[in-house]
């Protein structure tokens, strides 16, 4: 579709409200469903995709409402650029992470439901009763000579200062992002030699190449449990220090080092690795970090029964983090709740 035809289509739809109604009644449920799905679905990636769907629907609504410029901007900027940015960050954070949908704040869901329904009711019913759409003036006159041109005229006349301010905002946002994203380098530039030296000297570093996709055991060592293809885990092997075969606390049954979840390379963890077994994780539930860890009777178990993350105190610095799985797909939210619980317990 060319620009012109789209514009024409927009005009037509306005005039023939049956067409518009058809579009609306088809797309509106989709938009709502996509939105609801976005809220409900567990995987963040799915969320993003559902949002994109929603954005597309809305873009179409823009177009049918004689705002083709906005409709395209919506598709290009929103559905395109911004959502890509979202996905990007999602990847950085961990693409596999799915949210636990178990609520940890008491009454949050109930409140959200009540207030949400109330809010919707308050918004919807008055609108439904108050606004008489028949009196819509339509934008035919305003869009004379083209929607883009009309918007441009307005933008550079009435709204020029706002426009400038907004552009300044964009610049500031760009700079701000750089500032936020910047990490001060500690020490001098690290050369290749140094990198290699570190790879072998620093404890917990992966020396061998990481396994390829589909390989679920990263180590062939006995203390590292593999993740079974079905998502379950291999049974623990007794006698290995730091791995209790049976523990009362489901949350601390497995140590991070023993998880077969794929570690991102920058994860230093793996305290369960022999030779570094004096790491915090190996101390088990009674160890120093355990003083926070076990204190979580309210901790939600994973619905799927998958490995929960070990309770580990939030490490202030990168390298000290004992949670090997933090960078992995699953442990993110579990860790999160663990941390939340830990934080709470601490405060009490």
């Amino acid at each position: 579709m060319t620009h012109a035809t789209l514009l024409a289509a927009a005009g037509e739809i306005t005039s023939t409200s049956t067409g518009e109604a058809a579009v609306f009644w088809i797309l509106a449920p989709i938009a709502v469903l996509a939105a609801v799905g976005m809220v409900l679905v567990r995987s963040a990636v799915h969320c993003a995709l559902l949002l994109v769907a929603n954005l597309f629907c809305v873009a179409v609504f823009y177009m049918v409402q004689q705002a083709p410029f906005l409709g395209f901007v919506q598709i290009i900027v929103y559905a395109g650029a911004i959502m890509v940015l979202f996905l990007f960050v999602l990847m950085l954070v961990g693409v596999d992470s799915s949210d636990s949908l178990v609520e940890t704040i008491r009454g949050q869901r109930l409140g959200a439901a009540i207030f949400g329904l109330g809010f919707a009711g308050l918004l919807v019913f008055p609108i439904g009763s108050a606004i008489d759409g028949g009196s819509a003036k339509g934008l035919d006159k305003a869009n004379e000579g083209g929607n883009v041109q009309a918007i441009g005229r307005l933008l550079f006349s009435n709204y020029v200062f706002v426009f400038e301010a907004i552009s300044a905002l964009l610049v500031v946002a760009a700079i701000g992002t750089m500032v936020l994203g910047h990490r001060e380098r500690e020490g001098g530039r690290v050369g290749q030699r140094e990198w290699m030296r570190r790879r072998f000297t620093e404890p917990g570093r992966q020396v061998t190449p990481l396994p390829g996709p589909g390989v679920f055991a990263r180590h062939d060592s006995a203390d590292t449990l593999g993740l079974l293809p079905g998502g379950g885990r291999a049974s623990g092997i007794g006698g290995i220090p730091g791995i209790p075969e049976t523990a009362e606390e489901p949350g601390v049954t497995d140590l991070p080092g023993g998880r077969a979840a794929s570690d991102t390379p920058d994860t230093p963890g793996a305290p369960g690795t022999p030779g570094v077994s004096d790491g915090p994780g190996s101390a088990g539930p009674g160890g120093p970090p355990g003083s926070r860890g076990p204190d979580r009777p309210d901790r939600p178990d994973r619905p799927g029964g998958t490995t929960p993350g070990a309770p580990v105190p939030p490490a202030p610095t990168d390298g000290a983090a004992a949670d090997g799985g933090a960078g992995g797909a699953e442990p993110v939210d579990v860790n999160g709740s663990a941390l939340a619980g830990a934080g709470k317990g601490d405060e009490r």
């Binding site: 704040i105 949050q108 409140g111 959200a112 207030f115 949400g116 109330g118 809010f119 308050l122 008055p126």
Partner: protein
Amino acid sequence: MRVDPVLLAATEPGGQPIHYAAASGVFSLSWLVIVLPLAGAAVLLLGGRRTDRVGHIIGTLAAAASFVLGLVLFATLLGRDGDDRALSQHLYSWIPVNGFQVDVGLLVDQLSIVFVLLITGVGTLIHIYSIGYMAHDPNRRKFFAYMNLFLASMLLLVLGNNFLSLYAGWELVGLSSYLLIKFWEDRPAAATAANKAFYMNRVGDVGLALAIMFMFATVGSTSYADVFGAAAAGVIGYGTLTAIALLLLLGACGKSGQFPLQAWLPDAMEGPTPISALIHAATMVTAGVYLIVRAGPIFDGTQAARTVVVIIGAATILIGCVIGCAYDDIKKVLAYSTVSQIGYMFLAVGLGPAGYALGIMHLVAHGFFKAGLFLGAGSVIHGMDDDQDLRHYGGLWRYMPITWVTFGLGYLAIIGFPGLSGFFTKDRIIETAFDKGGTSGYLLGSIALLGAGITAFYMTRLFLMTFHGKPRWSSEGPAAKHPHESPVSMTGPMVVLAVGSVFAGGLFVLGHSLQDWLEPVAGTGVEGVHTFSPVVLTLLTLVVTAGGFAGAYLRYQMRPVESVARPDTEVSLVTFAARHDLFANTFNETVAMRPGQYLTRFLVWLDLVGIDGLVRGSAAAIGGLSGRMRRLQTGFVRSYALSMLGGAVLVVGALLLVRAG
């Protein structure tokens, strides 16, 4: 501001205006009478230890100078016409606030000059006496300063030409009295007694203050001229007049130690003896009598108040007499004697114009003999190393002859020995009481008569136990006593006062000299029908007195006196009660002091726990509430978001409601 205070006038009942002539000539210096001792006090107090060595001289000179000036005023007054002897001097405007105009002004008239002479005269004598009596006290300068202050205050009291000046003097003599009672401050008893005196005086002062307020509210002025003018003109309602009179009486009772405010006076004997003589016998305590006489026009208008005066006087006579019989402390006996003698004066002035002059006469005579008695007692105490217990005396006449003689004269005067001052003045009071007529006249007269008898009894007891009988002290051993006659500076005044005690009464009564002198102020009593002929009554009085004397003589001279009083458990109920001031202190403590203490304690508790507790409680409640509400701040962004949404719902809902409504 008042421009010309020179001519103050009041209307007499007959409509005859009497003028308070403007003070001129020597009278324009009458303020010096007050200022001289005041200056003495100021110099001594401000001069500090520098004036230690000359303190007594300055003090005495100031008093003497005041006395001399008083004499000059008196002499000049004598030279004037009888109706022209009231002179008013306006000094300056003291409290001018619109309708409330109070000046500091002086009124020199027949009444006040009598008091001036009494105060400064006796005062000077006692100053002289104190030079010797206080010779060894390190704070003698302060003592004289306070005495001077007292003289100034007392003179202000009697010389002021309005009630507020009188009130000022009234409270200031209370202050001087307080200062002097607690002169030996390190004795807790003295400090307590001083406080008690001040408190009870303040109760009386409330009455006086309220009376003044009543006057202002009624007459719009507090000056004698205006108030008496209105009172005499009969424009003030009877009720108001009675109220004013009763309030004045309350003040008088407080100051003069009359029932029901008599309890402080005996305690005040904790002060040095000269003070007891000057303030608590001769001058200050008689201020109540002065007040009633001065406010005669008010009392004249209200029979009810006058009846109360008479009742109080009569009651006090008996109370003083009865308790006086029981005490063994020489000064306390004298103190209760004072109480009862002032009761006589109250009785007299309560009888109306007929008694005013009699009251004053008895007052002056009492000033002489009671001061003399106290000084004598002081001399005895001085000689007995500050022992005040009668039971430790005995046979002292041999060792202190001058004291014996002067004390004896005073003693004879007070019991009304024929020819001595008490005989004349007291006799007349009894006579007038009977003359009042009716049952009440008989009753009052009988009480006065009975009082005379009891007075004779306890004074004889005092005298005999002190100077006669076997000595109940020893000149050896650890408690050795060496009684000795006092120095001339002490005996001199005693002699003078003894002479006064002997002759004052006769001087005043015979030929009605004082009565005539006071007549313009006090009015004349109508010579009513005598209930008894004066001769009969005199004889009757003498018989009763002799009876009292005989009783005491038989009991305390013919029989040996124990040197230790019998314990309370072995004495009769009457004696027990008398020894305990007829339970006046017990009464005061039960009715006023203890409830007051409990109330105070309760209020302290209430303030701390109740009112402040309310405040602190609310603070704590807020603190606790915020401690709970703090928990809402969970740190979870989503909770905050939820509350934001809630707020939004509320706002939108409210908007819709408002719009819909």
